[in-house]
């Protein structure tokens, strides 16, 4: 007289089986679809048309496209890609749908402008995007920062960078280092110093995880650069004084030239080679190194970014 037990059990078992089956099939489908073509992902590639079609729900759609942009870049970057064709369109669509999404412009400045494999290598496009952002957010000083950043790092145009920084510095509430940067640009000050300031500013102007990780990696590289330069100079001085190269860095400590064996930003002590060069122990963990690498070192295609706290 009760509900049929047979039916209940059969239906329940089938339901669980289907559940498992659907999850497995979905995973396979995701794999197949990740090789999707451009048109499919973008569906409608004109940002203006998309905005009109979104029927006023553009905020939500902007969030969707933003997420897609982050994922797209993240997964490709992880795989060491050299081409990021979709990043530009995805960011442009995001900006068109939600012009006030400041982080999208910042992301573009960091990753659309940068050269592959760390970015799409499209600084001009990034500039256009940022300028669009400035037009729509005239009081957002961070965007002037982004603009100057692109001019300086990728286009090596100090004049325009200085101009962007100083315009941004004029906005009430702007961070003081914008003025500082404007000054540095103008006086063509030491590159490392300027670069450090730039990357610190990049770190502080955003909450985005990826942009910050990128900034920290660059700051580490700058630190290594300075350390290696300084240490190699000391080694040279030691050689002049004693007539031979120090065997290890401890020799420099013994000669009171160093308080202790210095460590790189990752915490590992620097290495002194036979021929008096300074190297880091784990070059693979420090992307963007300009100094301190073994002679025939080839940076891995998949750079490891440090985790930010």
């Amino acid at each position: 007289m009760r509900a049929s037990k047979r039916t209940t059990i059969a239906a329940s078992l089938l339901l669980v089986a289907c559940l498992l089956g659907s999850v497995l099939t979905l995973r396979r489908l995701d794999q197949l679809r990740s090789r999707a073509t451009l048109e499919e992902v973008l569906y409608i590639s004109s940002p203006k048309v998309l905005k009109r079609l979104s029927l006023g729900y553009d905020g939500l759609l902007a969030d969707v496209y933003w997420t897609r942009a982050v994922q797209y870049f993240g997964s490709k970057h992880h795989a060491g890609a050299m081409h990021y064709e979709l990043l530009g369109p995805l960011l442009e669509i995001t900006a068109q749908l939600d012009p006030q999404l400041v982080v999208a412009y910042q992301f573009g400045a960091s990753f659309l402008a940068a050269r592959p494999p760390n970015g799409a290598g499209q600084p001009e496009r990034a500039i256009e995007l940022t300028q669009f952002g400035i037009r729509n957010n005239p009081n957002e000083w961070k965007l002037y920062y982004s603009l100057g950043f692109i001019y300086y790092t990728e286009l090596k145009d100090n004049a325009r960078a200085a101009d962007a920084f100083s315009r941004g510095a004029q906005i009430p509430g702007a961070h003081p280092f914008l003025k500082l940067l404007a000054g540095k640009m103008a006086e063509n000050a030491g590159e490392l110093e300027t670069a450090r300031l730039l990357w610190i500013a990049a770190y502080k102007t955003t909450e985005d995880k990826d942009i910050r990780a990128n900034a920290v990696a660059h700051l580490n590289a700058i630190q290594v650069d300075e350390d290696v330069t300084r240490l190699e100079t000391l080694v040279g001085e030691y050689q002049k004084k004693t007539g031979h190269l120090p065997a290890t860095l401890l020799d420099l400590v013994a000669a009171r030239m160093l308080p202790g064996v210095p460590v790189d930003p990752l915490g590992y002590p620097y290495k002194l080679t036979r021929d008096g060069r300074i190297e880091v122990r784990m070059p693979d963990e420090l992307p963007f190194l300009k100094k301190g690498m073994p002679p025939d070192y080839v940076a891995p295609v998949m750079p490891k970014f440090p985790k930010t706290q």
Binding site: M1, R2, A3, S4
Partner: protein, 313 residues
Amino acid sequence: MPAIEILGLEKTYTVGFWRKRPKRALLPLHLQVEEGEVFGFLGPNGAGKTTTLKLLMGLVYPTGGTARILGKDVNDPQMKSQIGFLPEQPYFYDYLTARELLEYYGQLSGLEAKPRSRKVDEVLSRVGLADAGRTQLRKFSKGMLQRVGIAQAILHNPRIVFFDEPMSGLDPMGRREVRDLMEQLKQAGKTVFFSTHILSDAEALCDRVAIIHRGELRGVGAVAELTSTVHGKVEMVWEGTLVPAWFKSRGAACHVSGDTVRAVVQEQDQEAAIDALRRERLRLVSVVPVRMSLEDYFVEKLKPAEAKAGVRS
């Protein structure tokens, strides 16, 4: 093997959204119906008649007890091909015509195509809808829908038919026809189990009745027995218009019409009444035992609860 066996069947609903209160729609019911019987299930509205039928049809699951129809579980499809059901105030797919509906039901009952068509015609004329076969059900009156309902219940020639308030919504002609049909079913040896709150119908048709009130069974038995056991009355008719004082003092119901008086007295007072009439030299025309009607029995059975809770309309 009894046609219908109900063993301790009960149903309690929980009502209310936050604080769940139990509502006992049916207290444990024990009942048995034999094949070939016409069984009446009586009770006022809300007594639990429809709940019982729904439990028997497997539409609602019991909170306790079981029931068996033709020895099988109520959800057994084999058994279902041998029963028919007419729900209360039925409603059918109004986009179908009567013929299409019956054909569909015939298909579901497992009737083969050719005999099915014939049976549909037969049953339509039997319920008096031979002309309305091709009319869409949305155009049917209440009475016509009731007939379609009966038609679909007997279409596949079931051994037992269950009717829930079969007379509801019918005019006197219609009710007469339904009663005749139920008589025919009985003649054909079918078992008929029907619920109603109209006692005269039950009285006329049923072999046995059960009375249910507030979910509880109050009495079961053959109609004849139920009405004859309890103290009967006699009706006396005499010429004239005089009502002797004795009658008034006994509070007997007296009715004067034309030149006769009709009075109803208790059976045991019969002798005393006749004496009273003789003393007044009144001429007695007839003394006829009056059987208690089913209605009286019914009201009687309902009394204890009514006295407690007040009369329900």
